[in-house]
Subunit: 256 residues, 2 copies
């Protein structure tokens, strides 16, 4: 794995009292998807490093195997300078609240100045204890369907990690075209095909009404124009038209 794609400056992901060891694996996978590797566990179950955890990590097992284990949340955040706490519900504490997106922007600024930071995630059923939340500078809450906002632990880790990764380059890639083997056909090639098709359509009578012909031709050209065809595709279309016609003539010949 290329070191360059991993971010040693990203957030530590801190799972506080995780209950299900496969969630640890799935969280590790979500982290590595987004270039994060600093996984910390606070008071996990004694058997947390299970086969289920490794299986769920599905290739990100390095992140699981290198996880640091702490007895308390205080110990887990000791070396960090800024901490976020994920919560689904209002804890009635006076703290700034981020979305994963606004948190990611803030994290990128911190990373740029060499600050160390992390994000706390609570146990599956109960979420973070208020004492854990109190250790954080900022709360992060994912804006979700207010009637069903409880996220799976690993899903929550994914969204926070994803927004961190996406914030790497504030200019997200624009929609682009999959690169096929070939570049788009030149207009010349396209016009040759239009000529071929229209000759055949005149021949078979499809364009037989002179008053409708211009608008029909324009509509047909528009359809093919919009498809952004490659040279090879234009050749395929020539072939389709050609074969239909050749077959027609052959058929006519054999009937003679």
């Amino acid at each position: 794995m290329a070191e360059t794609t991993l971010s040693s400056t990203g957030p530590a992901i801190i799972l506080v009292r995780p209950q299900l060891s496969e969630n640890i694996g799935t969280a590790a996978r979500a982290m590595l998807n987004n270039g994060l590797t600093d996984l910390r566990l606070v008071a996990p179950k004694p058997d947390w490093l299970s086969e289920r955890a490794i299986a769920a990590a599905s290739g990100a097992d390095r992140v699981v195997l290198e996880a640091k284990v702490f007895d308390t949340t205080e110990a887990a955040v000791a070396d960090l300078q800024r901490v976020w706490a994920t919560t689904a519900r209002n804890r009635f504490m006076v703290k700034p609240v981020d979305t994963p997106k606004t948190a990611a922007t803030a994290m990128r600024a911190l990373a740029a100045e060499g600050t160390r930071f992390g994000v706390l995630f609570g146990p599956e059923r109960t979420g973070l204890h208020n004492d854990d939340v109190a250790l954080a500078d900022t709360v992060v809450t994912v804006p979700l369907n207010p009637d069903y906002s409880s996220l799976n632990l690993a899903q929550c880790v994914l969204l926070v990690s994803y927004e961190w990764y996406q914030a790497a380059d504030p200019e997200l890639p624009e929609r682009h075209m999959t690169k096929g083997a070939q570049p788009p056909a030149s207009k010349e090639k396209l016009l040759e095909f239009f000529g071929h098709l229209e000759r055949e359509l005149d021949d078979c009578g499809f364009l037989r009404h002179p008053d409708k012909r211009p608008v029909m031709v324009r509509n047909i050209r528009n359809m093919f124009q919009r498809a952004n065809l490659t040279n090879q595709e234009v050749q395929t279309l020539h072939g389709i038209v050609h074969e239909l016609v050749t077959y027609r003539h052959k058929k006519a010949d054999t009937k003679n």
Copy 2:
């Protein structure tokens, strides 16, 4: 659950040949987190509606219980007018590629004009078959750590659903397509045309090599798919193929 928070206009989430029933449950949970309820399954395992699926849905079981099951991907997308296919790797098909974020912006614009759309997700190990990808107008790929970009199925559903939900309040997107008089054709209409064209191409011998047939059919479908055809344009294409063939038969008749 308040009706107001659910989006009947959001994307259909279409899981193609899902292998693990708990992923169906986790995907349903991720959907409902983001206000989505239209879950469709293509050829799931016979025992897909398992206790594991319901347990994994964790309160979003309504979405699982109301999932629609289809035999084929074609049937699952028949009523939709725009389809995205999620892929992790380049399929070398000439199609536009979205990120979940750019897809979400496009989806919001489609929803605003009443267009029906959905997103295809492939089986856990293999991803979508190329024939499934060929049914889509646009590919969606999550920008992730290039050294470890394989997402769990439910995680992928989460990211697409999340970006849809986050895009609830977009600035007006720049749409690339001029609005014609007609909405885009449904996939059903498009598939009918593909059927018609391919029957004729079988008949005339254009598709005579069985080993090349699948890739040729896929390439031809991709071209027409990309053109974002209206119903009227699909009718025009039926007409073109029909007239070429009718003329062929007429010509053959008169030679008798």
